[in-house]
């Protein structure tokens, strides 16, 4: 109870705090739902208790702030819920909807005693943030920017953002280093935190480093694995996503088993679910190059052989054809040549025949003609004979003429005669011998 000191009613501090506690307990007897941003979780791993800093901001400024307590059993239960539903642990910087009582402790003052946190509210909020990141990337026109880059045919030189001790990194190297096809990769690790609130800045920092030596690399691989699928919300961070989107090299991600793709994975050149899958994707790129080269070799050898053998065959066929053609021509001509004498003989026979017929006809004609001629001649001869008969000495003699001979020669003129010569005169019947007495010359001139 209050004392009176110097006319003043004085309370002890405990009395005041007890009064406050009583008032508060009377006024805020039951629990109620509150929404706030958890600025810091302040989890003490030794005790397992948390002492979150809760704030409410307006235009980025803190307009209300309270401490809270979250005891170990509640924390463990709620954290498990969060990991199950959000794939995120309870962590700094998330908005939470929580069930709490206002608690006043004389020693520690006023605070909120958190009994439960609704994960779906935070989930919605994280989703909202994620959508906001996506929207901002789209607004800046860079959402698809990394995808428009082109990966070389052989993505051979890889800048890896990972942790040396991570299982994902080991898985990745196992596939690309130990490949049975002797594909050769060059890779360099740029170590970075890969999950939690500090990851975006760490990864962004390494990306900036890689930018400086980008001409040595074909691509960036962000690899994380083995850590389960908790704590990936950092890949929804706008600044990180923007750095990836605008990165001058293709950025490929293999960061987890998230069922819900993060923004960084969405805007990456290519996203593979696990580091192993990412490595296999790269091996496949090598196959895509190697197999056609191998095929090309086989095809060219096969086709070249085939072309040669085809040409050879066609040449042989040509030769064969030519040979058979010439043989045909030869044999045709031979046969013809062989037949020629026969044909010639036949021809000659024919000719002879024709000529013979012609001759025969000619002979007949001649015969016919000559008979006529003979007949004509005979007639002519007969008429001549008649004439001759008429002219014959016998006939002349018969008609009273006579022939005078001297010394056996017929006398035509008195010049041949001399007086006293003996004349022999032939008559038609008989002859007369006489002697020339005188000669009378016929008058001349």
């Amino acid at each position: 109870m209050a004392e009176i000191i110097n006319d003043k009613q004085v309370f002890s501090l405990l009395e005041v705090t007890n009064s406050i506690r009583k008032t508060i307990n009377d006024r805020y007897g039951s629990s109620f739902w509150i929404k706030a941003e958890m600025n810091k979780l302040n989890h003490y791993s030794h005790s397992g208790h948390c002492y979150p800093d809760l704030v409410e901001k307006q235009d980025g400024k803190v307009i209300a702030e309270m401490r809270a307590t979250l005891w170990r059993p509640d924390f463990e239960r709620i954290n498990a819920q969060f990991q199950k539903i959000l794939k995120e642990p309870l962590k700094d910087g998330i908005k939470i909807l929580f069930l709490a009582r206002i608690n006043y402790d004389p020693k520690y003052g006023i605070s909120l005693s958190i009994q439960d946190i609704d994960p779906s509210f935070t989930l919605g909020d994280l989703e909202k943030e994620k959508q906001l990141s996506i929207q901002k990337l789209r607004e800046e026109g860079i959402f698809d920017q990394n995808k428009t880059l082109s990966l070389p045919l052989l993505p051979q030189r890889i800048a890896i953002i990972s942790v040396e001790t991570s299982k994902g990194y080991a898985d990745f190297l196992k596939v690309i280093e130990g490949n049975q096809w002797n594909y050769k990769f060059f890779h360099l690790l740029f170590p970075s935190l890969l999950q939690g609130d500090k990851a975006p800045m760490a990864i962004t920092g390494q990306l900036k480093q890689i930018r400086k030596v980008k001409h040595h690399f074909d691509m960036v691989a962000i690899i994380r694995g083995g850590g389960g699928d908790i704590g990936l919300a950092c890949y929804n961070d706008f600044e990180l996503a923007k750095e990836i989107a605008t990165f001058p090299l293709p950025v490929l991600t293999g960061i987890g088993h998230a069922t819900n793709e993060t923004v960084s994975e969405m805007i990456a050149y290519s996203n593979q679910i696990t580091p192993t899958k990412l490595a296999e994707y790269l091996i496949q790129k090598f196959h895509d190059f190697s197999v056609p080269v191998q095929r090309a070799e086989e095809k060219i050898v096969y086709r070249a052989r085939r072309l040669l053998s085809d040409k050879n065959l066609s040449l042989r066929n040509q030769v064969k054809y030519f040979k058979s053609l010439t043989e045909n021509i030869l044999s045709y001509n031979k046969t013809r040549l062989a037949q020629l004498p026969k044909m010639l003989a036949k021809d000659i026979d024919g000719q002879l025949n024709r000529h013979s017929i012609y001759l025969n006809q000619s002979i007949e004609q001649i015969e016919r003609n000559s008979d006529q001629l003979l007949k004509d001649q005979k007639q002519l001869l007969q008429s001549l004979e008649k004439n001759i008969e008429i002219m014959s000495p016998q006939n002349v003699l018969k008609r009273g003429f006579s022939i005078t001979l001297v010394n056996g020669k017929s006398v035509r003129s008195t010049d041949e005669l001399k007086s006293g010569q003996e004349l022999e005169t032939h008559l038609f019947e008989g002859k007369v011998i006489s002697t020339i007495e005188s000669i009378q010359k016929s008058k001349e001139e």
Binding site: P152, L154, V293
Partner: protein, 69 residues
């Protein structure tokens, strides 16, 4: 880029030769030349699959020296 033909160009040219030969556009006269060329291209491609010329030291040096080369 250091070589006269990049492996990408070699790959494309090789595909072109394969197409030509498959389409039967290559005559026997050109065949020897094309096959020789293809052999070279195949070698360039195969070499690229199994070698890289990057050097870690060089990259680290560039990272330390702030001046971009």
């Amino acid at each position: 880029m250091k070589k006269e033909i990049t492996y990408t160009a070699a790959f494309e040219e090789l595909q072109a030769i394969v197409n030509e030969i498959e389409e039967g556009e290559i005559s026997v006269d050109e065949l020897s030349e094309k096959v020789k060329r293809a052999a070279l291209l195949i070698k360039i491609c195969k070499d690229k699959l199994s070698t890289t010329e990057e050097n870690v030291e060089e990259i680290l040096k560039e990272l330390e020296g702030e001046e971009p080369i």
